[in-house]
Amino acid sequence: MKKNTVYLDNNAATRVDPRVVKYMDEFHLHDYAVASSQFSHTPGIRAKESVDTSREIIAKRIGAKPGEIVFTSGETESNNLALMGAVASNKDKNRNKIIISKIEHFSVLHTAERLKRNGYELCYIDVDEEGFIDLEKLESLVDERTLFVSVMHANHEVGTIQDLNAVSKLAKKKNAYFHTDATYSFLQVPIDVEETGIDLLSIDANLIHGPKGVGALYVREGVSIEKIFEGGYQENNLRPGTENVPGIAGFGKACELFDKSDIHKVTELRNNLHTGLTSGIKGTLLNGPGDFSRRIPNNLNLSFEYIEGESVVLHLDMRGIAVITGSACFSRALQASHILLAMGFTHERAHGSIRFSPSKYTSNEDIDYTISNVKEVVEKLRELSPIGK
């Protein structure tokens, strides 16, 4: 039995780079003042400088200006601020229609549903069996009453990368705002907010070997949104409350340290895992794009016929391998993955799905260990299953 955990859940949370932790410690132990203006004391000014440095680093990575970056507590808050903030600021513009894809993160999906309860017309864009949105459907939905279109850049369960240029063009034709949740693609897939025509973009440090509890929302200059809770005037008067200086500093450092060679490494690990599992286990189905160039490098999602995902997860966990499933029992909502169901999969296939997501900290040995153990677990569970024999 392997004693160290093989962690393959990096589409949910990543290990913080030790250099990021060390850098953040400075702001916990020494430069711990509240970030404040040039008229304040020196520690406050230094804290503010570190926040602004991170702002510059992050802005550069997406082709934005530093002043267009608003720090938040993460993906969920960024998405809430984008959607609710846009609605709050544009009530008088006779635009009461919002459009989202069916495979959005809950923080977009549930926020949009709340807006619907408050009187907004909510329209959904369908996806195909690989998770790509139906652009013709989107074109038919966008009109002069549309306030915004929200389509995530890459999906967190099946890794599908959307064609944001196409989405943006359709939204712009009718002068609707375009928001994208780029949490799962950030740094892995190049993005330029200017070239693509993105108005609002959400990201999170937690997915790039940065700390939890810190993210950002890009707000294009001239795009009108309003803060969604009250307090001070921080973050360009869009996000009240004391800035999370250590977190923001860590977010910037994680961006700075992100190395393109890690993407090649992770892609190779993911591909080897895919080859090993699909060639060695009959009845293995790939969920998400078959063309891996249209899928984020650190994502693999498979269904194993005749067995349930949660059993696989439990048995792998007891062998020291951390993965997740789209099965209902695993979810806090006790519902099968809305993403896999939107892709047209049966409940059985959704229940049998397992997501594997490696990182730069995953080794070839980890992948070999995972392949041999998944094979063994799937074979044994099928022997026990009345329909798998």
């Binding site: 039995m1 349930e308 949660e310 059993s311 439990l314 048995h315 966990d317 007891m318 062998r319 029992c329 153990n373 044994k380 569970l381 026990l384 299953s385």
Partner: protein
């Protein structure tokens, strides 16, 4: 049995994967050398739990069926 059972995990009437979920939770709470007895009725779990214990290098001390209820006793290592 010679070794005293420290924890009994009751999974009677519970279906897969709950017996395995509860067994794992009991192992996580246990100390090395603790003896745990899991009892249940779901047939697949009777085969599945020893398989998982084997993967964790945990030795099953006793495994039996009595009146449609099964019992699996093991020592945490």
């Amino acid at each position: 049995m010679a070794t005293a059972v420290k924890t009994v995990v009751d999974c009677i009437s519970e279906n897969c994967p709950m017996p395995l979920v509860k067994t794992r939770a009991a192992i996580m709470d246990a100390k090395k050398g603790d003896v745990i007895m899991v009892k249940g009725t779901h047939p697949q779990s009777y085969e599945e739990i020893p398989m998982a214990l084997d993967a964790m290098d945990i030795k099953v001390l006793e495994q039996k069926y009595e009146d449609a209820t099964w019992y699996i006793t093991f020592m945490v290592s």
